[in-house]
Amino acid sequence: MSIENTTATLAKKEKEALFSAKRRKLITDPLNDNNPVTVQVLGICSALAITVQVKPSLFMFGGVLFVVTMGNVIVSLIRNLIPSRVRIIAQLVIVASLVIIVDLLLKAYAYDMSKQLSVFVGLIITNCIVMGRLEAFAMGNKWWPSLLDGVGNALGYGLILVLVASVREIFGSGTWLGFQVIPQPVYDLGYVNNGLMILPPMALIVVGLIIWIQRAKNTKLIEAN
C-alpha cells in the first residue's frame, strides 16, 4: 500500500504542481505496480462477467470511471463533514446514487448496452475498487489528488478489462470490437472459434495469465520468500 503513504504527505504540501511527479504516479501506479485487478485482486466479479466482448467492457470501464472518480471527489470534498461512525454508510449512499445515475443514463442513451451489462451496472456498487478508493484515499486527501486517484484506478481496471475482453472476443468470436479480425479463409481451412472463451471460467484463466506475465516482467511484484 505504498500509494497511501506517499500521498498522505501530499495533502500537506501547498502550491504543488497540478501534475507533479507524485500526482502523476496516482494515475500511473494503478496501471501496473498497484493495479486494482491484477495486484490487489479487486473487482474480479465484473471482470469475469462482462469481458466476453470489448464493447461492453468499454462501457463498464466508463461506468466505473464515472463512479469512482465522482465518488472520490464528492467524498473528498465533504470528508471533514462525514461523521466517522457513519462514514461507510455515507460512502455507500454516494456510490449507490452514482451507480443509479449511470444505470439511468445507460437506459436512456445506450439501451442495448444497458441490457447487455444488465445487473453488472448495479453491481458496480459492490465493486471493491470503488469503496476501497473512497475509504483508503478520498477520506484523507484533497479533491484533486482524489480525482487523479479515481481516474488512475478506473484506468487500471479498464485496462485489464479490455485486455481480457480482447483475448476472449478474438478467440471466442473471431472479432474485436465487433469487427471481424480472423479472416474467412482461416475458417475455410477448418479453424473454429473457441466456445470455451465465451464461458466465465476462461475470464478467470485469462486474468490469471495476465497476472503471471505481469509478475514475471515486473520485478517489484515478486515477493521475497
Partner: protein, 263 residues
C-alpha cells in the same frame, strides 16, 4: 457542533438522504422519456422480427407503422376485450401474474409485400427466469411463418439456444391445427420423438429440457388462445352479404385499428 454527536449524525444523514433523493428523482425524470421510447422501439423491433423484418431502433417506428396494420386483445377463451390497446396497455409480464382466465392476450396484424400475418406475442417461464417470443402465423391462421424467442437468463449453450437460429428455423411451415381441424399446437419434444417431417412439433434443446418445456407450455397456451379467438370470432370467414357475419367483423375491430381483421 461536535461532529461525532448523535444529533449531528442524524442531521448529516437526513440532509444527505434528502439531497441524494432529490437529485436522483430529478435525473430519473429527465431520462424517463428516453427510456420509455427505447423500450417501445425494442418492442416494435421484436414484433417486426417475427415476420423477418429486421430494422434498427431508429427505423423501428416508421416500419412498425407501415407494416403493423391492426391489433386486438382477447382472453384465453377467445372473447374479445374492447377498449384495450394491445401495444400500449398490455404488458405480458403483468398479465402472467393474473389467473389464466383473467389474462389479456394481444395479437397484431401485419401486412407485408408477400401477404398478411398474425403476430402472437408470448411470455412464459424458462429454467431461471422469463422467456418470451413472437410467433407469426400466415393468414390461414394455421401455418407458422416464423418465430423468435428470447430469454432473460437461460444457461448459455443450453437453454439459451432457444434464442438462436437453429432452434427458431424449425418453426416456419409447421401447423398448429391438424387436417381434421383439431388444435395440436407445436410440441417441443426430445429430438427423435417426432417422425421426420412431422408438422406439429419441433425438436427441443438437448440439455435444455426445462427451457424447452417452458417454450412448449408457452406455445401451447398462446397458440390455443389464438385459435380460440379465431374460431370464436369467425375471423377467417370472408365478409359476405349475410348481416350476421358483417356484425361480427365489426365487433372484432379494436378501437384504434384502421383495418378490418376479418377479410
Amino acid at each position: 457542533m461536535n461532529r461525532e454527536s448523535n444529533a449531528f449524525i442524524i442531521f448529516f444523514s437526513t440532509v444527505m438522504v434528502v439531497v441524494v433523493g432529490i437529485s436522483l428523482a430529478l435525473i430519473a425524470q429527465v431520462t424517463k422519456p428516453n427510456f420509455i421510447k427505447n423500450q417501445r422501439l425494442e418492442k416494435m423491433q421484436n414484433i417486426l422480427s417475427s415476420v423477418n423484418i429486421q430494422v434498427s431502433p431508429s427505423e423501428a417506428e416508421t416500419a412498425y407503422k407501415k407494416y403493423i396494420t391492426g391489433s386486438v386483445v382477447y382472453k384465453m377463451d377467445g372473447t374479445l376485450v374492447e377498449g384495450v390497446d394491445a401495444f400500449e396497455q398490455v404488458d405480458l409480464a403483468k398479465e402472467l401474474k393474473k389467473t389464466e382466465d383473467q389474462q389479456y392476450f394481444p395479437l397484431y396484424e401485419c401486412v407485408k409485400e408477400d401477404g398478411k400475418y398474425f403476430i402472437i406475442p408470448m411470455r412464459g417461464k424458462g429454467l431461471w427466469d422469463a422467456i418470451w417470443g413472437y410467433v407469426a402465423i400466415k393468414d390461414d391462421a394455421v401455418t407458422i411463418a416464423g418465430a423468435v424467442f428470447d430469454h432473460k437468463g437461460e444457461t448459455p449453450g443450453l437453454g439459451a439456444e432457444i434464442a438462436k437460429a437453429p432452434f427458431q428455423e424449425q418453426f416456419p411451415n409447421k401447423k398448429i391445427v391438424d387436417a381434421s381441424g383439431t388444435f395440436t399446437g407445436i410440441e417441443v419434444a426430445k429430438a427423435g420423438k417426432h417422425p421426420a417431417g412431422y408438422d406439429h412439433g419441433v425438436d427441443g434443446i438437448s440439455g435444455g429440457t426445462i427451457t424447452s418445456n417452458g417454450v412448449n407450455d408457452m406455445l401451447m397456451k398462446y397458440l390455443k388462445s389464438f385459435r380460440n379467438y379465431i374460431e370464436k370470432n369467425n375471423v377467417l370467414q370472408p365478409v359476405t352479404q349475410e348481416p350476421k357475419v358483417e356484425e361480427l367483423s365489426d365487433d372484432i375491430l379494436s378501437s384504434d385499428s384502421t383495418t378490418v381483421i376479418a377479410e
